[in-house]
Amino acid sequence: MPAVARARLSLLESLRCSIFATSYNPTSLRTGAKYLRARLRGPSMLNYYPKIVKISHFNKLFPGLDLEDTDEIQRRNDLAALRARGKGAPKKAKTKEQSRRLAKKR
């Protein structure tokens, strides 16, 4: 038998919580407060990779600029070369019947 009654002890605990500005939670219920308290991680996640500078960004920023985008020209030339050899990507399927993935399963 403790020297001090349990009710008195819980009263003391609640008073202590009010003084030190902590939450009084005698039954240890999970309040989910940790999800609100934790810092947001998104902003620092976005900063991980160094920013890519592309000519197309400037062309978009200043509509009248029209700098020559060598990367884009190269990409188009490569694609044209592939298509000329019949090695380009197939056209997107418009209907379900055209879908090769479905045709294979049957």
Binding site: L29, G32, R41, G42, Y48
Partner: protein
């Protein structure tokens, strides 16, 4: 141009940053035992509707130089080989090859 896996990771990072506050709010409701079970269940269902690239666990730190996913030295954000190359080139301040 970064490799596809790096691009995918960038997409995941953008998605996490965009949806973080809403997800946290739902998490708070779903994990709060003082709320009615019905409400918590609804919040959990809402959490399940978020896409793959909105969860912070889908984000992986990849090598900022080569895009490699394994053997990353997190202090520099580089994989072990890129770290070695840069260190030997004196491109990492304060990093020297050990010799004794």
């Amino acid at each position: 141009m970064p490799k596809i896996r790096v691009l995918r990771d960038m997409k995941a990072r953008a998605g996490v940053a965009e949806n973080e506050i809403l997800r946290r709010a739902y998490l708070f409701v779903a994990r709060n035992q003082s709320l009615p079970a019905q409400v918590r269940y609804q919040a959990q269902l809402q959490l399940n509707t978020f896409g793959r690239y909105t969860r912070p666990t889908t984000v992986k730190n990849r090598c900022t130089e080569s895009g490699r996913g394994r053997g990353i030295i997190s202090e520099f954000g580089l994989c072990r080989f890129q770290f070695r190359l840069k260190a030997l080139n004196n491109e990492l301040p304060g990093v020297r090859k050990a010799s004794w």
